[in-house]
C-alpha cells in the first residue's frame, strides 16, 4: 500500500519559516541488485516529489537510485496565507501517492 506521512504545522504566523517533513513508504529498489540466481532486480524508485501551496509549486525534488528506502524529505517554506499544501509523489511502475495538509496562517 502506498503510505505517506506528512508533518506540517497546523498553525503559523504570517511570514514565519515553517518546516515540512514528508515520509513515503517505498522500497527504492536501485535496479543494480541481483537475485541469488543472478537475475537483475528491475529498478523501482520514486522519481519526483512535488509540493504546491494553494496551487503554486513551492518545492520539487528528483529522486535517484542511491536514495534509501522510505525516503524522508524535509524542506522549509514561508507561511504566506491559510490554505492547503498538496504533495504528490510519482515513480516507476505507475507509483503515485498524494497527500494534502491544511495550514492556518494568523
Amino acid at each position: 500500500m502506498a503510505r505517506v506521512v506528512v508533518n506540517v504545522p497546523a498553525e503559523a504566523k504570517r511570514g514565519e519559516v515553517i518546516e515540512i517533513r514528508t515520509l513515503a513508504g517505498h522500497p527504492m529498489e536501485t535496479g543494480f541488485r541481483r537475485t541469488q540466481l543472478g537475475e537483475l532486480i528491475p529498478r523501482d524508485i520514486i522519481r519526483t516529489l512535488v509540493c504546491s501551496y494553494n496551487g503554486v509549486e513551492i518545492f520539487r525534488a528528483d529522486l535517484h537510485p542511491a536514495i534509501a528506502a522510505n525516503p524522508l524529505i524535509t524542506f522549509t517554506t514561508v507561511a504566506v496565507e491559510s490554505g492547503t499544501l498538496e504533495f504528490r509523489w510519482t515513480g516507476d511502475n505507475n507509483y503515485s501517492a498524494a497527500h494534502s495538509a491544511p495550514i492556518k496562517v494568523v
Binding site: R3, V5, V6, N7, L23, G25, A68, A69, N70, L72
Partner: protein, 237 residues
C-alpha cells in the same frame, strides 16, 4: 606460572563475565546522533509506516473483536514475552499470529502488527519471567561456541561490547527495540532475523524463524535485559 601470566594478560578477553546490571546499555546508546534522531522521531520516523499499517490490521483482522482498543489492552504485553502460553514457550510474534497463522514470519503484515502491539509498551521495563528450563537453554546457547569461527555470542556481547567489529560498535545484545527498523535491511525486521544475521556472521548452523532454539535464546536475552526500557519499534544501524 607462565600459563598463569598468560591467563592474567588475556583476562579481559577470555573471562565470560556477565555484564553487571547497572552497566547495561541499550543498543540505542551506541548509535550515532542521526540514527538516534530517526528513532526519536515519532511522527515521520521510518517505523511509523509499520505502526500505521499495524493499527489498520488490528481492525481489519478482527483483533479488536476480542482485545478492544490496543492502546489499553496491549499496554505491558510485549515486555512479558517470550512467555508460556498453554505450557508452551512462545515469542511475541508467535502470540500475535495465534489467530492469524496465515501471516508468515517476517511478512510486512506480521511485523506491522507486532510493532504496533510492542509499541503500546514503549517506555515500560522489560519484565519476562525466567522460565525453566527454557531460560537456561537460552543461556547455554548464548555461551556455547559454535560455527566455523568457533565463537559464542557472549564473546562479543559480554566480553567485548563497546569495542569495534568491522568498524561498527559491538552492542550488548539487549533486545530492547524489537521489531526494529534496521538501516542495513532498509526495512523492519524481527529479533529472529537479527539472530540469523549473527549466526551467518559466525558461520554457524542456522535455525528457522520461530524455532524453539531462537525463542529460548530470545527469552534469555530478554531476561538479561530485565528492567531495561522497551523502545519498540527501535531503529538500529
Amino acid at each position: 606460572m607462565r600459563s598463569a601470566v598468560f591467563a592474567v594478560l588475556l583476562c579481559p578477553f577470555v573471562v565470560c563475565a556477565q555484564i553487571p546490571l547497572e552497566e547495561r546499555r541499550s543498543g540505542y546508546e551506541f548509535m550515532s546522533r542521526e540514527t538516534r534522531a530517526m528513532q526519536d522521531d515519532d511522527i515521520t520516523g521510518p517505523a511509523v509506516l509499520w505502526l500505521l499499517d499495524g493499527e489498520a490490521l488490528w481492525g481489519k483482522l478482527g483483533c479488536a473483536g476480542c482485545h478492544g482498543d490496543a492502546k489499553a489492552s496491549m499496554r505491558g504485553v510485549a515486555v512479558r514475552y517470550p512467555a508460556l502460553v498453554d505450557a508452551k514457550l512462545v515469542s511475541l510474534e508467535q502470540q500475535v499470529r495465534h489467530k492469524a497463522p496465515q501471516l508468515p514470519y517476517e511478512s510486512r503484515e506480521l511485523l506491522a502488527l507486532t510493532a504496533y502491539v510492542a509499541h503500546q509498551s514503549k517506555g515500560m521495563p522489560i519484565a519476562v519471567q525466567p522460565i525453566q528450563p527454557h531460560v537456561d537453554a537460552g543461556k547455554a546457547f548464548f555461551h556455547r561456541r559454535q560455527g566455523q569461527l568457533n565463537l559464542a555470542c557472549s564473546q562479543c556481547h559480554d566480553d567485548n561490547w563497546g569495542r569495534k567489529l568491522a568498524g561498527n560498535a559491538i552492542p550488548q545484545a539487549h533486545p530492547t527495540g524489537y521489531p526494529i527498523y534496521r538501516l542495513e535491511w532498509q526495512t523492519m525486521g524481527s529479533l529472529g532475523r537479527r539472530l540469523r544475521n549473527c549466526l551467518t556472521g559466525m558461520r554457524a548452523e542456522q535455525y528457522a524463524l520461530g524455532s524453539t532454539e531462537f525463542v529460548e535464546l530470545e527469552l534469555y536475552l530478554m531476561w538479561r535485559a530485565r528492567g531495561m526500557k522497551l523502545e519498540s519499534p527501535g531503529v538500529r544501524p
